[in-house]
């Protein structure tokens, strides 16, 4: 994946958000990354220091919340964990391709001052 450019987007959005709220420094960046997003959390961590360097987010802590993939079973009206894009409902064993979570690539929140 293109973790360096995703991390650049995250830092740019973090700095914009902090500035718009009157902040000067970003101390913490929290990302939410889905298991099916194709994004590798370790590669984001690897890119983070380099991308933050020379920006108001230099030295910021990176926290990544990894979101497991869940499918929706319309019959049982429940969400259940799935290993890939097609999951089998643990209750009725019907197969569902309706992925509810797991494709996220989001800037969840930032801490700034």
């Amino acid at each position: 994946m293109h973790e360096v450019s995703l991390m650049e987007n995250a830092v740019r959005m973090a700095v914009e958000t902090a500035r718009a709220s009157g902040g000067a420094r970003v101390h913490r960046i929290r990302l939410r990354v889905g298991a099916m997003s194709g994004v590798v959390p370790d590669a984001l961590r690897f890119a983070s220091d380099m991308v933050c360097q020379g920006t108001p987010a230099e030295g910021a802590q990176l926290e990544i919340e990894e979101v497991p993939a869940t499918c929706w079973c319309a019959h049982c009206a429940v969400e259940f964990a799935t290993p890939d894009f097609l999951g089998e409902c643990p209750h009725c064993h019907a197969v569902s391709g309706e992925l509810r979570r797991g494709t996220e690539m989001e800037l969840a929140s930032i801490e700034f001052s």
């Binding site: 994946m1 293109h2 973790e3 360096v4 450019s5 995703l6 987007n9 995250a10 740019r12 959005m13 973090a14 914009e16 958000t17 902090a18 500035r19 718009a20 709220s21 009157g22 902040g23 101390h27 913490r28 990302l31 099916m36 997003s37 194709g38 590669a43 690897f46 890119a47 890939d84 894009f85 097609l86 391709g97 494709t103 996220e104 690539m105 989001e106 800037l107 969840a108 929140s109 930032i110 801490e111 700034f112 001052s113």
Partner: protein
């Protein structure tokens, strides 16, 4: 793969042979007075109006952002989609690993449609305009996007490249993405249909190895069916993998070289173009 992935190999972005240094402008949309709600758990549940910076006290604060990392591309893709729709164009984003037969399929598709529909092509590659030259020789209007370091096409590149085509003289716009089964999956270009190719020479389990790409497909095309026997291609296994990952996708099996299976594909595109025109 590219600088974005950290390897740092490659050149500059150019569209139609001209450098496009402005292709990565970073516009912001802050300062428009919108507010963000805090998440529960961390800070106190209150909202910040972003145009009221003076309301903040010194000290660290947490603010929920909840924005997609690719939202800028998504916005530009939606703009492309609206523009293309107004032009009544059917737009295809063709994706696969390198060497799966994208250019050959596009060339044959344009030739077979020629008597009924006018096809234009935008081709993305890291370097060279070999694919564009092939298509141009076949009489197809084509713009080459040389991405330099970038391993995928983005919506903004398509907007710029499309300016170099006479869209009013086209019915179908085919975008040949950079040969890569990873990164292009995440970038919407404003297409109507995403076409993902799996060639018989590259292994039946590709959909299982690259699930985000195949899951994003509206159409999966098994190409080079004429080489299936020579390559020992296990058709049942490949279709099972496609059904598992791309269960919603329409599947075609064809050989652009021999023409086998092409009529069904061409009919499908004509139907899609007819509905895009409405």
């Amino acid at each position: 793969m590219c600088q974005e992935c950290g390897c740092g190999i490659g050149g500059e972005l150019s569209i139609g042979g001209r450098p496009a240094s402005a292709a990565h402008s970073h516009s912001t949309h802050h300062g428009d007075g919108h507010s963000h709600q805090h998440e529960g758990g961390g800070g106190a549940p209150h909202t910040h109006a972003h145009d009221d910076a003076t309301a903040h006290q010194p000290g660290r604060q947490t603010v929920a952002v909840q924005r997609g990392l690719l939202e800028k591309n998504q916005r530009l893709a939606e703009r492309n989609r609206g523009f293309f729709r107004a032009k009544k164009l059917l737009v295809l984003n063709v994706l696969s690993s390198p060497g799966s037969g994208k250019t050959t399929l596009i060339q044959k598709t344009a030739t077979l449609l020629a008597s009924r529909l006018r096809v234009g092509v935008i081709v993305g590659d890291l370097a060279t305009d070999n694919d564009a030259a092939r298509l141009r020789e076949a009489g197809i209007p084509v713009v080459q996007v040389t991405t330099g370091t970038v391993c995928h096409l983005e919506a903004e590149m398509i907007a710029k490249a499309a300016e170099r085509l006479d869209l009013d003289a086209l019915d179908v716009l085919i975008i040949e993405n950079v040969g890569n089964l990873v990164c292009p999956a995440a970038y919407d270009l404003g297409e109507d249909l995403r076409i993902v190719l799996l060639s018989t020479t590259e292994g039946e389990d590709k959909p299982l190895k690259y699930p985000p790409m195949f899951h994003s497909a509206d159409v999966a095309v098994v190409t080079k069916s004429d080489l299936a026997a020579a390559a020992g291609f296990d058709r049942a296994q490949a279709l099972a993998a496609l059904h598992r990952i791309a269960h919603h996708a329409r599947i075609f099996e064809l050989s652009a070289r021999t023409g086998d299976g092409m009529p069904a594909w061409i009919d499908y595109l004509e139907q899609q173009r007819a509905s895009a025109k409405c």
